[in-house]
Structure formats: C-alpha cells, structure tokens
Symmetry: C2
Subunit: 141 residues, 2 copies
Amino acid sequence: MNHPNNLGLELHTLVSRLERAGDRILQAGHGMSYRRFMVLVTVGELEACTQRALADSLAVTEPSISRMIAALAGTGLLTVAPDPAGGNRRRIALTDAGRKLVERAGTELIGRLTELVESSGVPFGTYLAYTRRLNAALGGG
Amino acid sequence: MNHPNNLGLELHTLVSRLERAGDRILQAGHGMSYRRFMVLVTVGELEACTQRALADSLAVTEPSISRMIAALAGTGLLTVAPDPAGGNRRRIALTDAGRKLVERAGTELIGRLTELVESSGVPFGTYLAYTRRLNAALGGG
DNA sequence: GTTCCTAACTTGCAGCTCTAAGATATCCCT
DNA sequence: AGGGATATCTTAGAGCTGCAAGTTAGGAAC
C-alpha cells in the first residue's frame, strides 16, 4: 500500500478513494453518481455556459461532456437550449431543482471532506492551495 | 477552472491531467498505458504477489486487476503461475524485460513529476507526506 | 453568394473502473 | 471421506474516459 516516492500513484489512489466515498453518499442520498454531480456543480459555478466551457472547467474532453449532458438532460436538473448568441452551441443552465440539489448535497460533501482532512492532521487550506498550484502548473490556469 | 473550496474537484482534475501526461509519455516511448505501467511498478514493489495483493496495493478491485493481468500476460513483461503455496491464487512476477522497463520508464516518470512539482514551488516532500496521510485516513493504511 | 475556415458538438471504438454474481481451490470440522 | 466455510479469481453488465473522425453553424474573403 506504500509507494515510495511515487506521488502520482499516491494521488491516484487518494482520488479514487475519495470518489468512491462521494459516490456512495450521492447514490444513497440522491441516486446520482459523483461525476454527474460534479457536472451539476460546475454548471452552477459557471452560471450559464456552453459544453465547451464545461469541458475546460472540468478538464475533460468535449465528447465526455456531450454524453454527460445527454444523460443529465432528462432529469429536470438542468436545461439545454441553443445558445442565443448563435453558433453551434448549447446553453446549459441549472433548473431550480438542480440548484437546490447542488446546494444541499454540495455543502454536505464539502463539509465531510473538510472534516476528514482536518481530522487527519493535514492543513486543509495549505493542501488545497498546493493542489491548485500544481493544477495551474499543468496547464490548467 | 477554479473550484472554490472544492478540494475533491481540484484533486480529480490534477490527477487526470497527470495521468494523461504520463499516458502520452509511456505510449510514445513504450507503447503502454499509464495504468498498465502502474501495475508493473507495483508488481515490482511487491516482488512476487497474488492478484489480491496487487488489488489492495493499487486500491482497485479484483476484477480490474484480473483483466489487467490478462492483458499484460502476453507481453513478456510479467509471468503468471499458480501460487506454489496453494489455494486458488496466481503468482505474479516481473520478467527481466519487465524489470528493465519499470526501472527505465519509472525513473523517467518520477523524475519528470518531481521536476514539475518543484518548479511550481510546491514542496515535494510535504505534499507527498500530506497525500499519504490523507490516503491513510481514508482507510488505506 | 459561393467558398473556405473555425469553433462547438456528436458518434464510434477501445481502455479502465465498479458492483454483483459465478467458478475454483484449499482448509476445517464432523 | 463428505460438507461447509473462506479466500481468490473470473465473468457479465454498465458507467465514464480519451482519441479520432464526422457533423453543424456561423463568419470572413473573394
């Protein structure tokens, strides 16, 4: 379970554990996968956005977002419409139900994670800042 | 691209970027995916192990390892044999070719990652230690 | 107004993951 | 021996991802 000096492996392991834990909470409480919920959260942060903007913000590809939006479109949590600004774009936005879900489940998830981190003795703010800086260094401004 | 307070999302983004970068390096240089290479690395760390031990060490499930081993079995990089200790087990070990690959590509990958981290101003040792501690807190001793 | 270009979106294919359920091999107990 | 219990490995089905290639809508150049 110990991977000497292998930060990449340590990080991957950590993230898959976090996502599995998040998945269990969301599936049990709201019948939704962690990844789909993250899409909702990001739509909420960006207010009204295109799929392209979503893909950039989540650091996934356009095809991936395209499929996620297709899967989420029928749930009543977000709306998809041609962008009034023109072009071959969809305008994605949360419905009221979506906003409520994001707020409720989002604060719960973040709360639990923050708690876990603090209880492990790792300073949350520092770790978050480091992670952000690494992300930026990897081309993700 | 900024997810306020959402450490989970930042971490996922960071990891997927790291793995995509690693994938490109390994695909170009050795025709191998990042995930498969991580299996090889872990087999190397564990010396001679069962699939179960591999799954634990990589924090993935048995079926996942089962398929990876099946895919890697024909490459000549590792050997699969019934465990002499008995039981329904396979004994997995690196071949000489596998050991060489792990050593060459492994040091290259770790070197590049370390460089990237240091150049971003994040202290490698501290970040690795924090990540390990979080991993342990999530049940992964 | 036709042609080309660009940006966003979609489809096809393959890799890796999970959960759930089935198969296999050994040990223990009677 | 014969009959569980237990641990490991495998198979089946579905979700998310990426890359490559195809489609669609608008703008620019001539």
